[in-house]
Amino acid sequence: MSALTVYKRELSSYFAQPTAYAVIVIFLLLSMGLTFSFGQFMRIGDASLEWSFFFWHPWIYMLLAPAVGMKLWSDEQRTGTIELLGTLPLSTWSAILGKYLAAASVWLVALALTFPIVLTVNHLGNPDNGAILSGYIGSFLVCCTFLAITMLVSACTRDQVVCLIVSVAACVTMVLCGYDDFTRELGKIASPAIVEGVVSIGVWDHFRSLNRGLLRLQDAVWFASFIFVSLLGTSAILSSKRS
């Protein structure tokens, strides 16, 4: 119940300030721009969104997801409102969940607003809409993972810029690890065991299978555990900061 109250406050705060609008507009411009330029949506002539559209999402999220999440706890600590939250009859988990879901909702709105591309591809050809839905789920899960990491970082610092830089670095690492060109180069200098370890923290393996319409348990577990561990870490950091 109180998580819902926090959720509503955070969500209205996103839309009362330019943050949400800026992020949504830039996301739409970038995702559509990349789809039609480098993604060669029109030239490939393939009625699927896997390569032309979804492929770009992790690259965009690694820069924009931290911009949405960076204020979550940094701002509370800088302005001292964390003391207010901490002395209201509200569990830390309600606050964490409320805030996290509000940030995720901003991204849900952004993703929903890409619907014209789905209409377009349905108009032009005969795509597998199940695979498109699963692509959207994969895209949203990557975004949620990045948001969870940003939230963890924001609990550590009261400085939003520091939070942005550190979480972008973490997200970039997760996008690069597991990206084919990168792992190929890494394979030349490192042993297969190391390459495998590096690939396992990358998002691509899990993102791609969802993109192809495969709903695998291992991907669900991977995303869920990354998010859960980050939120758990946030809770641990927030309580340790007080004692």
């Binding site: 705060s13 001292g80 207010l84 209201l88 009859p89 007080r242 004692s243």
Partner: protein
């Protein structure tokens, strides 16, 4: 109503609050005095459940803040030192949010918010965004937040800080009025405030209580008839070397 038992807080090697014990009963307004860094805010943060104490316990209406923090927090209204607020909200929106978190809903919420706005003279700015408000209004908005649920215990960290003389007077009158049927603990630097609003006062220095009594007793104890003289004689100035 407030029972503080051997409360201690250790920050690294520094002991901010050292084995502090006192009680505040219903109908009592306890002034919490002390130089900067004496441990006043830390003590208040422990009683309100924001900081876990290193040792000791605080009970509010018989409920331990350590064992049952959520129940204890429902009994407390708290004004933090810097009066933190969500600047992107309106006064009304902020108070509604705090009321919802406290589990007040429907008509009860509307009434509680209206009453708090009235008590703190916020009618004229209720629909304004908090970041456009002057310091006095911000302070009173945060004070209003602490009164929403009509708590049995009020903990106010420097409630008159940054207010103009008129506002200070109003807040003191408010504390006096509320103190009749609540237990109030408030910290201040202004010694006249003690005589104006408190039924009892304690002076803390380096985490320990160094004087305790009604304002009249404390003035008597000073020998010179001035609280300032007593304050200066029992507390350590930060310009002098602390005794080893």
């Amino acid at each position: 109503m407030i029972e503080v038992e051997n409360l201690t807080k250790q920050f690294g090697s520094k002991r901010a609050v050292d084995d502090l014990s006192f009680t505040v009963t219903k109908g009592e307004v306890l002034g919490f005095l002390g130089p900067n860094g004496a441990g006043k805010s830390t003590t208040m943060r422990m009683i309100t459940g924001f900081f876990p104490p290193s040792s000791g316990d605080a009970k509010v209406c018989g409920i331990s803040v350590i064992d049952q923090p959520r129940q204890a927090k429902t009994k407390i209204g708290y004004l933090p030192e810097s009066a933190p607020l969500y600047h992107d909200m309106t006064v009304l929106g902020f108070l509604k949010f705090c009321a919802s978190v406290r589990g007040i809903s429907g008509n009860a919420k509307k009434d509680a918010v209206e009453k708090a706005i009235e008590t703190c003279f916020l009618q004229s700015v209720a629909k304004q965004s908090i970041d456009t408000l002057s310091k006095g209004y911000r302070h009173r908005t945060c004070l209003a937040q602490s009164l929403l649920h009509d708590p049995e215990v009020l903990i106010l960290d420097e409630p008159t800080d940054g207010l103009d003389p008129n506002q200070k007077h109003e807040v003191r009158q408010l504390i006096k009025r509320l103190g009749k049927d609540k237990a109030i603990l408030f910290s201040t630097h202004i010694l006249e405030e003690v005589e104006a609003a408190c039924t009892r006062a304690v002076i803390v220095d380096r985490g320990r209580i160094v004087a305790d009594g009604t304002p009249a007793e404390l003035i008597k104890q000073s020998g010179t008839g001035s609280l300032t003289d007593l304050f200066r004689s029992v507390t350590t100035r930060d310009t002098e070397q602390p005794a080893a």
